[in-house]
Subunit: 208 residues, 2 copies
């Protein structure tokens, strides 16, 4: 019997390299499924429905809430964001390890609902490095960079609430660490109830 997948939430500061990390993980290993969030915000240029987000109207989103079809949802700057339940449940049942790349607020809600969720917080090796990376992108104004640094300072307060901290220094190493972490969770006794039961039965049958 195929074991059910692990549910892992990945959060972290803007500039910690979550996006690149997720992309590299999914390219290297085929046992993962990245959950796509639903949102009521307008698509930005280059964003594709069903790839970056499921874009929808407020009415559509509120219908999902009303029908308990979201694992978690929150409102940021007057836009809804949420995690559709069906995709996550289907993929986990298929044995895929499902990754939610979501904000802290949502992460803590998921953990409350599903205590077995793995909460992983991605950080750059230092705050200095975070600032460098944000500046290095070259796409943001200093004002936006300062906003992100301020936000990181707030978000850092929640780091202790996460189960694991992943330092993203070297991309390849970080991918391996993340993969090993999630895969080792399949060894949890609670994930192996079937194996334990079978072992007990087999032993009892042999010993008689």
């Amino acid at each position: 019997m195929k074991q059910q997948g692990i549910l892992a939430v990945v959060s972290g500061f803007s500039g910690a390299g979550k996006g690149t990390l997720m992309k590299a993980l999914l390219e290297k290993y085929d046992n993962y499924a990245l959950s796509i969030s639903a949102t009521t915000r307008k698509p930005r240029e280059g964003e594709v429905h069903g790839r970056e987000y499921f874009f929808m109207s407020v009415d559509e989103f509120e219908a999902l809430i009303a029908n308990d079809q979201l694992i978690e949802h929150a409102k940021y700057v007057s836009n809804y964001y949420g995690t559709p339940r069906s995709y996550v449940e289907e993929k986990m049942a298929e044995g895929k390890d499902v990754i939610l790349e979501i904000e802290i607020q949502g992460a803590l809600k998921v953990k409350e609902k599903f205590p077995e969720t793995l909460l992983i917080f991605v950080v750059p090796p230092s705050a200095e490095e975070l600032k460098k990376r944000l500046i290095g992108r070259g796409t943001e104004t200093m004002e936006v960079i300062e906003q992100r640094m301020n936000r990181a300072t707030e978000e850092a307060e929640a780091m202790d609430a996460y189960d694991y901290i992943l330092v993203n220094d070297d991309l390849n190493k970080a991918v391996e660490s993340l993969h090993n972490l999630i895969q080792s969770q399949h060894m949890q006794a609670r994930c192996n109830a079937e194996l334990i039961k079978t072992m007990k039965e087999e032993l009892a049958a042999i010993v008689g």
Copy 2:
């Protein structure tokens, strides 16, 4: 600052291959320290003091108990067995991941005292395979094999109390799984309190 080591307890049925697994793990990686138990039983042929066990008199052992120098101890068949505290604490402080290969009774005592201990239970892929391995050794009488199978049947009842189940099918794979499991535990938020504190301070200093 070097992170403190992880404390991992490895238990499992006689014939599950714990000994071979530990040997292979310690040969391949140098970040582990295998704790050596103290016992009052007499050394068997080929056993060396300080390698298989610290062999000692009942008086010596009871002095260790009286001075709280054992993490756990138990009596089996009128002999004492216990885990000396100093070795474990020293190695962990050096940053070594310390492995205790001990019985279930002792494992649960260690977990009670140190809830952060990783309890790992090693099993063969099946009960049939366990019996085969015990017979395959060719060193035991059928009576001893039956005793071991009976004991395994009893011990199987405790499997659920362990954190992780390691199926020892292929030795190399099992070594890697065990290594990845223990190493990934260094990412736990509680192991990274220093990193979290530094990150918060650095961010606060930059943001001002």
